[in-house]
């Protein structure tokens, strides 16, 4: 190859590179724009609807006026219930997988099971919740059935993040404790768990965000179109923010008229869920920065 063609070949190679980098940057930019676009758009259309009354009053005039207070309360109950189910179960499973399990068929089975559970479509969780909790266990459409269904839905997320947090604790911590004659369980409960706690909590917070935003699993297990009174027990149906958006946007005869309410509810839900996620992200990055090991 003579020097001239070689030089132009080099030019071509670098040209190709800059075109590729341009495309890559554009893709990353478009993704960011999509996220911001959706948020900004909902904000612009929704913020006028979100008043104090909107947040604290129940819907009135067959859901064409008033607020969304029962839906906020309902989502709160369902989410708390879900995390109460998933957190203990998930953390214990993660401790077993990260600390006790050795390679083998049994562990392989559990891992495949958790992965497959994570992949089950949300509407199938809804069907399962209907068939098992609502009908078979006779819980009816209730906070209890919805929380259990959502709890199972977020279980794999909790297990995954807790296991990752446990694995990030340096092996030397465990060795130091075991070398002092401390038993395995004490090592885990006194040394490993406290070190992994911020990571585990981050995972739990992300799980809360996920549970708060899900619609399909609660459609047949917990969510009510409209309730006149707030739930009195865990066997009552509740309104929930995601389902409320769906109902307002698709059912009824005055869809156009209730548009501001729909935007307002969507804005409240998105602020809630993304706020929760953002808290988790901030906690995680600050923990990473402060890490002493």
């Amino acid at each position: 190859m003579n020097p001239e063609t070689q030089a132009s070949f080099m030019k071509w190679r670098y040209f190709r590179q800059s075109v590729f980098f341009g495309i890559v940057r554009l893709a990353a930019l478009l993704i960011t724009v999509a996220l911001l676009g959706i948020i900004v758009f909902l904000f612009i259309n929704g913020f006028r609807a979100v008043t104090w009354g909107f947040l604290t009053l129940p819907p009135t005039d067959s859901m064409t006026k008033g607020g969304i207070m029962p839906a906020i309360i309902g989502t709160f109950y369902l989410t708390v219930g879900a995390i109460a189910v998933a957190m203990p179960l998930g953390v214990v499973s993660a401790i077993y997988l990260a600390e006790y399990a050795r390679q083998g068929r049994f562990i392989r089975l559990i891992r495949v099971g958790v992965n497959c559970l994570a992949g089950v479509p949300s509407v199938v969780f809804g069907l399962f919740g209907l068939g098992f909790f609502v009908v078979f266990l006779k819980f009816g459409s209730s906070i209890l059935a919805g929380s259990l269904t959502l709890g199972i839905l977020i279980l794999p997320t909790i297990i995954g993040s807790a296991e990752e947090a446990l694995k990030a604790v340096p092996q030397t911590f465990r060795e130091a404790s075991l070398a002092l004659g401390v038993s395995k369980w004490r090592t885990i409960s006194r040394i490993v768990l406290p070190s992994a706690l911020p990571g585990i909590l981050t995972g739990a917070i992300l799980g809360v965000g996920r549970a708060a935003g899900e619609t399909a699993p609660i459609m047949f297990t917990a969510a009510a179109f409209f309730t006149a009174v707030l739930p009195k027990s865990i066997f009552d149906e509740v309104m929930a923010l995601p389902y409320h958006i769906y109902v307002l946007a698709t059912a009824g005869t005055r869809i156009e008229q209730t548009r501001p309410l729909q935007y307002g509810t969507a804005l409240v839900l998105i602020a809630l869920v993304l706020g929760i996620d953002l808290i988790a992200i901030i906690i995680r990055s600050s923990v990473r920065r402060k890490k002493r090991w």
């Binding site: 890559v24 992949g119 794999p156 993304l274």
Partner: protein
Amino acid sequence: MFQTANTKSTLTRHLREIIIRKLFAFFAVISVLLLALIVLFLFRQGIPLFEEISVTQFLFGSAWYPTYNPPEYGIWPLIVGSLIVTVFACLIAVPFGLLSAVYISEIAPSRIKEILKSVIELLAGLPSVVLGFFGMVIVAPWMQEFFDLPTGLNIVNASFMLAIMAIPTISSISEDALYAVPREFKEASYALGATKYETIVKVAIPAALSGISTAVILGMARAIGETMVVLMVAGGAAALPRSIFDSVRPMPASIAAEMGEAPFQSGHYHALFATGIVLFLITLAFNLIADYLSNRFKEEGSGTL
């Protein structure tokens, strides 16, 4: 005396350790048991349908008229609807997911990298009902006007919204795969005089290919199982589409829309559970393939050179 007390305490301590271990193992198995319960209850409620019609009639029947008399329970149009929106969503989500992963793991400065990772995580956290709502009230009217269509609730719109849901999955898993490519691979490539572009395209991506395939498959699984978006945006027509601007009724949409009206233990009720079985089996297959690929992928690395 001292000796026995000591042995005894060692024994109880030992016993306690064993009990804790077994107890934790039991809790860990609960996930598997739950999966089994899901299968059991889907089949329990879905199988009775096949006393009325055959599996072939159900899967390949082209008419879904569950409320007619006599009813018809052919879910072929629903399966086609699901597959079409999933494939189109992936056509959009795979390039965007993969390119953003390349950007994050290979090109971006560390500050932008952190921001973009957060953006993708927030995108993953967007509630699907909000995306469905967005597609319904913003994208649909715009699309209807711009392309002069009878409805903006169609395959293209649903695919776009589904792509937004699948991008974070594809991006974050691909990024992990690219990150796991040993540095030596890239260094060797640079040492041979390759440009960064050549190193990414000819070394990093091929080395991460099984991880990237896992990412794509999990992204597809996410898209095919997604409910609210297709329920609100796909239009809901249970017929075979003839153009990409036609409405479809993917399986999850059909289940979610009709479950509330289907009389308990009726043929319709069982048919919806049977549709759930089909959907579950498809996503299960995707997940098992992804699991298999990612396990093979773990064994790769500089050791296999």
